[in-house]
Structures are given as structure tokens and as C-alpha cells.
């Protein structure tokens, strides 16, 4: 009950929820994908699903960088840090993610020099403070995070800090959406577009989704009312027979994105021909590697990378969940072999993964619903 008092504008929530029910055709089944893991988290946290009519289903997309990272890349990163001269740095999100022989934290317990950092700049600073060591930053993230890594590498080069490198696992969101749309069993009607990724890339990169695939996409903020408004905007488009890119998160997302952020990314990164996504397989031009002009700071060029490949257990149906063919709970392993404590599949790995979010929050039957009397 306390829950709803915290909502900034409970009235708006009720209104948006009513509008969704008014616009949704009861004869139709809708599947909307929220691309971003932040939205997935918000949808479960606020119990928004229960404010929607039963024929409107939210499918949780691939926008969780920790979830889509193949285990082999974690093994590769950790293998580079076997050298006692290397300090392994990564964001806190990465620390509990299992590799074949344990997570970075478990490696730390066995004596590896593993440090949590909160900003790539901190890794660079650590390199300055430890001139006799090599500091490697295990970089993950979509376009929200990649510009910060890029600027950090530019600073390293400008300042001549040479005992620093980045193991780039940065990925890009558009090819993942394309892979989902290209899948023969794809069943998505529209997309709730990522908010903070779009701060960087803007709204133009989504235009092909509307133009070629005839599916609406609405870039959305993270407040409950933002997500609900975005659903209203999608339903309005579907009702009018339209497919457009719209920006619900105008207060933060400029249509053209951020030029300085895109410049930094272009200076430092280039597209890899292909990259493996956990649960989705290989996707062409879907990840960023470091350009040769920054080779000295590229961990993949400085170290021997074993190129370890670990296939997900066949029984894990992450790919089907990602495409909206199955709900998390319909996977054979969900809640049994695969739990947030011992994840088998990609989507159970981070709290932003759809299976972990479902596992952690689904029992919390929406207090929102009761308290606003919807």
C-alpha cells in the first residue's frame, strides 16, 4: 500500500492504464518488447504488468549487457589476468557473473588482483597510481556506456598512460533488434525503445523498424507513467494503422542523439564483423572492437586471448524467451536448475535479465493494482 503513495502522480497512472484498456482491441493479442533491461526491472518492480489488460503481453528484450555476454568472454578476460602483474578491473555488475572456473570475485578469493570500479576513469587512475602494474578494464555495456570507455581511452593516449588496456565487450542494440525481427518464430508487434541508449544514438537508427518492418517503436523513460504512456502511444499507432518512431522521453533524449558521444565512439571503436550473444548466437556487426590507432590500449592485441567458447546448456531456452516465444516460467529450467543464485542461462544472470526479474518480483502481486483500485 505504501508503494503507490510513492508514485509521483498516481492519477496519471490510473488514467494511462484506463486509456490502454480503452485502446486495446479485446479481439487481438498484443506482444510489445521492451528492449532495455532497465525497463524490464521497472516493469516488474512496479508491477506494471498487472495494470495491463490480459491480452497485452510485455516481452523482455536483449538489453542487459551482463546477460548477453557469453561465458567464454569472461573466461578470456580472467585468463589475461592470470599474470600477477595484471590488475583486473570491472563494474560491480560483472563481479558475480560465473565463468567456467568461477566469477571474478571467486578468482579474487583465490588471489587474483580483482578490483571493482565504478567508472572507467577510475581504472585509468589506478594505472597511474600503479606504474609497475598493468591495469585491464573489462568493458561491458551498450551505447550508453561505450562513449565513457572511448573517452577514457582517448585520455590514456593523450596522457601517455601506457600500462592500461581495455578488453572491449561493448555491444550495439540495433543489430540485436534486427536479429530478433529476422527470427522466423518472432512474434513482436511493437517495441518500447531504450531510453538512455537513445540519449547517445538518438531516434534515427530505429527508423528502419517502422519503415521496413512496419512496427511502431516508442523511446521511453523509466518512470511507471513513462512506460504506460509509451504503451498508449504504441496502441494509438496500431489503432491508426501506423508504424512510426516516436519519442516519449523527449525531456532527456534528443532526436539526433549526442554528437560528442558518437564522435568519441567513432574515434576509438569500429564494428566487429560478428560477435556472439549469449542466448542469441552470432550476430553480425553487433559489437565494438578497438581501432588499430589504439592498439596499444587494446587488451585483445596486448595479451594472448584464448578465444574460449562455452555453449549454453541445450535445455536452457533463453533464445525463445528473448524472442517472446516462451515466457520465463515456461522454460524447463526456470526456478529449478536455473535460479539467480546459480544461473544456467543468460537471462538469470543479472537483475535486469527477464528471468531474474520474473523470479525476484513475480510473487510480489501488484500492490499498485490494489491501491489505485484499478
Amino acid at each position: 500500500m505504501k508503494f503507490v503513495d510513492e508514485f509521483r502522480e498516481p492519477g496519471l497512472i490510473g488514467k494511462a492504464s484506463d486509456e490502454i484498456r480503452r485502446l486495446a482491441d479485446p479481439a487481438r493479442h498484443y506482444r510489445f518488447m521492451e528492449v532495455c533491461g532497465g525497463h524490464t526491472h521497472a516493469i516488474y518492480r512496479f508491477g506494471l504488468k498487472d495494470l495491463l489488460p490480459p491480452n497485452l503481453e510485455l516481452v523482455h528484450g536483449p538489453g542487459c549487457p551482463v546477460c548477453v555476454l557469453p561465458m567464454g568472454r569472461i573466461d578470456d578476460g580472467l585468463s589475461m589476468a592470470q599474470d600477477p602483474n595484471v590488475i583486473f578491473t570491472a563494474f560491480g555488475d560483472m563481479m558475480r557473473v560465473p565463468g567456467t572456473h568461477g566469477s571474478p570475485l571467486e578468482h579474487k578469493a583465490r588471489g587474483m588482483d580483482v578490483r571493482i570500479i565504478y567508472s572507467p576513469s577510475d581504472a585509468l587512475k589506478l594505472a597511474q597510481k600503479n606504474p609497475d602494474k598493468h591495469v585491464m578494464f573489462f568493458a561491458i555495456g551498450f551505447e550508453t556506456t561505450a562513449p565513457s570507455t572511448a573517452l577514457t581511452l582517448m585520455r590514456a593516449k593523450e596522457q601517455g598512460i601506457r600500462n592500461f588496456s581495455v578488453f572491449s565487450n561493448h555491444v550495439t542494440i540495433i543489430p540485436a533488434i534486427r536479429a530478433i525481427l529476422d527470427s522466423p518464430d518472432m512474434r513482436i508487434d511493437a517495441f518500447i525503445g531504450p531510453g538512455h541508449v537513445s540519449t547517445v544514438i538518438g531516434c534515427r537508427p530505429y527508423e528502419w523498424i517502422a519503415r521496413n518492418e512496419h512496427k511502431p517503436i516508442v523511446v521511453s523513460g523509466f518512470e511507471p507513467v513513462d512506460v504506460l504512456q509509451s504503451i498508449v502511444m504504441i496502441l494509438q499507432q496500431l489503432k491508426a494503422g501506423e508504424a512510426k518512431v516516436e519519442n516519449q522521453y523527449k525531456r532527456v533524449v534528443p532526436w539526433e542523439g549526442s554528437r560528442p558521444a558518437l564522435r568519441a565512439m567513432a574515434e576509438v571503436f569500429e564494428l566487429r564483423p560478428y560477435f556472439e550473444w549469449r542466448g542469441m548466437g552470432f550476430i553480425s556487426q553487433s559489437a565494438l572492437r578497438i581501432r588499430d590507432t589504439y592498439a596499444h590500449w587494446d587488451a585483445e592485441q596486448r595479451f594472448q586471448v584464448p578465444g574460449i567458447r562455452v555453449t549454453d546448456p541445450k535445455a536452457a531456452q533463453c533464445g525463445e524467451v528473448l524472442k517472446g516465444v516462451l515466457k520465463p516460467v515456461q522454460c524447463k529450467l526456470f526456478g529449478k536448475e536455473c535460479t539467480p543464485e546459480r544461473p544456467v542461462g543468460a537471462l538469470m544472470v543479472s537483475s535486469e535479465g527477464s528471468c531474474a526479474a520474473y523470479y525476484n518480483y513475480e510473487h510480489r502481486k501488484s500492490a499498485v493494482l490494489t491501491s489505485i483500485g484499478a
Binding site: E6, S119, S121, D122, F222, V252
Partner: protein, 91 residues
């Protein structure tokens, strides 16, 4: 992972054009403003920060809304921890 934290710029450094001192609910930390190079922030402006970098400018009203969203998401503590974790120079 892609969540961003609202912060208020409290000090800029003319000799270091990409550095700013920000305040996030009482905690002060240095951040990098290089990603706002085309429209640099001024003292008193609000920005969204992500992994120690300012990503975009926002209004004060939006900033306060975002702080409330983070609180509701139960992420405020994580956000504070992140900001406190920035070792970019403490005050």
C-alpha cells in the same frame, strides 16, 4: 546497467575543462564532462551521470523526478554507492 543518476554541478575547473564537481544528495564527487563538449554545463546545472561521465543536461524538475524514480526502483542505494565509489578525486 543503463540507469543514470541526476547530479548538480557545484564547481567547474577552468584549468581542467572536462572535470566538474557534482553533488548527488549530499555526496560530492568529481565527474568527467567530456561527453557534453558541444554544450558544456555551467555551475548550478543538473546533469545525468552514468559511470562517472555526464551524459546529458536536464532541468531541475526532471532531476528531482529522476531521484524519486531511483528511490522507487530501490536503486537509490546502489546509485549512491556508485557515486561514492568514484575515485575521481574526493573532496
Amino acid at each position: 546497467m543503463c540507469l543514470a543518476i541526476p547530479a548538480k554541478i557545484v564547481e567547474l575547473f577552468p584549468e581542467e575543462q572536462n572535470r566538474a564537481l557534482v553533488e548527488v544528495v549530499g555526496v560530492r564527487r568529481h565527474i568527467d564532462t567530456g561527453l557534453l563538449a558541444d554544450d558544456p554545463p555551467k555551475t548550478g546545472d543538473w546533469v545525468l551521470i552514468h559511470v562517472g561521465f555526464a551524459m546529458s543536461k536536464i532541468s531541475e524538475e526532471q532531476a528531482l523526478d529522476q531521484i524519486q524514480t531511483l528511490t522507487m526502483l530501490g536503486e537509490q542505494e546502489a546509485a549512491m554507492q556508485e557515486v561514492e565509489g568514484y575515485g575521481l578525486g574526493e573532496t
